[in-house]
Symmetry: C2
């Protein structure tokens, strides 16, 4: 059982206790879709353990990787959608087996009025994700594919906390809305520069 007070040190003790008693703990397997683009959101989600990726999908099946949620992170989207009964604008998928805390949305209003630290937490969460979105926009709008790939690898290295990223070239291509051949060629170049090494279905990230 993961302790909330260590994971969310900025929150009031009383709030943490209320989260413990009223939140729902849930474990989901790798690959589970937590939020589905277009589906209504009923709870705010906090990640206790594991890794979740958020990505944008369009109607033609294209997708683009946005950011990861790690332990202690709350899902900004679920906050802002849950609070006005709206549907999700992105898809969230568990990258590994993941433990979550679900907070029913009717708690949100009451907490906002009773716990200033909850307000700070919400605003801080939203702000962080907004900045990640803007950084992603910078990448897509202003950078070429080689830089975007490097950015993607850096982000993943931070999130997975390991040198070895288990992913195929085709998967990267899909998450960057590119094509497999292009990613293969760019990875090859990075490998020649000594920044990464390539294995089957995995990439070893050295100095990016």
């Amino acid at each position: 059982m993961i302790k909330l007070d260590a994971l969310l040190p900025s929150l009031d003790t009383a709030l943490i206790e209320e989260m413990e008693s009223k939140g729902i703990r849930k474990t989901v397997n790798e690959g589970t879709i937590l939020l589905d683009s277009g589906q209504p959101i009923r709870n705010t989600i906090i990640i206790l353990d594991g890794l979740v990726k958020l990505y944008r999908e369009d109607t033609d099946g294209n997708e683009y990787f946005m950011y990861h949620l790690e332990p202690g992170d709350a899902c900004a989207l679920s906050m802002v959608c849950a609070m006005n009964y709206r549907t999700s604008a992105m898809t969230a998928k568990a990258v590994t087996d993941t433990r979550l805390l679900l907070l029913p949305l009717d708690l949100m209003d009451s907490w906002m009025q009773r716990y200033p630290s909850w307000n700070q937490f919400i605003v801080c969460t939203i702000r962080t994700r907004l900045e990640e979105l803007l950084e992603t926009i910078d990448q897509i709008a202003f950078r070429k594919m080689d830089e975007r790939l490097l950015f993607y690898l850096k982000k993943h290295k931070e999130s997975i906390g390991s040198e070895e990223l288990q992913v195929t070239h085709a998967e990267i291509a899909q998450e960057l809305n590119s094509s497999r051949e292009v990613i293969t060629r760019l990875l090859r170049k990075l490998a020649e520069q000594g920044k990464i090494s390539l294995k089957r279905s995995a990439i070893i990230l050295h100095d990016l």
Copy 2:
């Protein structure tokens, strides 16, 4: 003097009164920078009259148009930044002479605890802008320049409330991070399709 209750019908009367008494009204000229990328934000901004554009700039001077703020809109960025004393991630510039209401940031916390309608307003504001950002990401990530140009023109038609958009090809090119020649050629195609007519320094938008 613009009446706040008509502009912001979702807010409590008591809150509106407090906004009237504690908010600062300000008029700025066309071209004024309201938020500057990297500068700290001291107030939350609500647009009373006029039009403001928000755009992302990178370090190399590239820019990309994000969205407009119209009367009754609050600046989501100023809310989320003001509340934790952070700097702006986008630039906001007045497109026309614009009247604003500035709300000092120390009011925010107290209002969140006293006025549920203020919380709803904040969440709704943030959500709307988040959706606009995601729509922009879709455009950049998944659409070609011709579709992005059409989207840009549609957005502007909605915001300016007029058929005639006063803008040069070079300005559009900058806001879409493209080049003047490409925009000229694409506009020419749209004109041939009868969707727009071209004038010097202006575009007449018919049926987009």
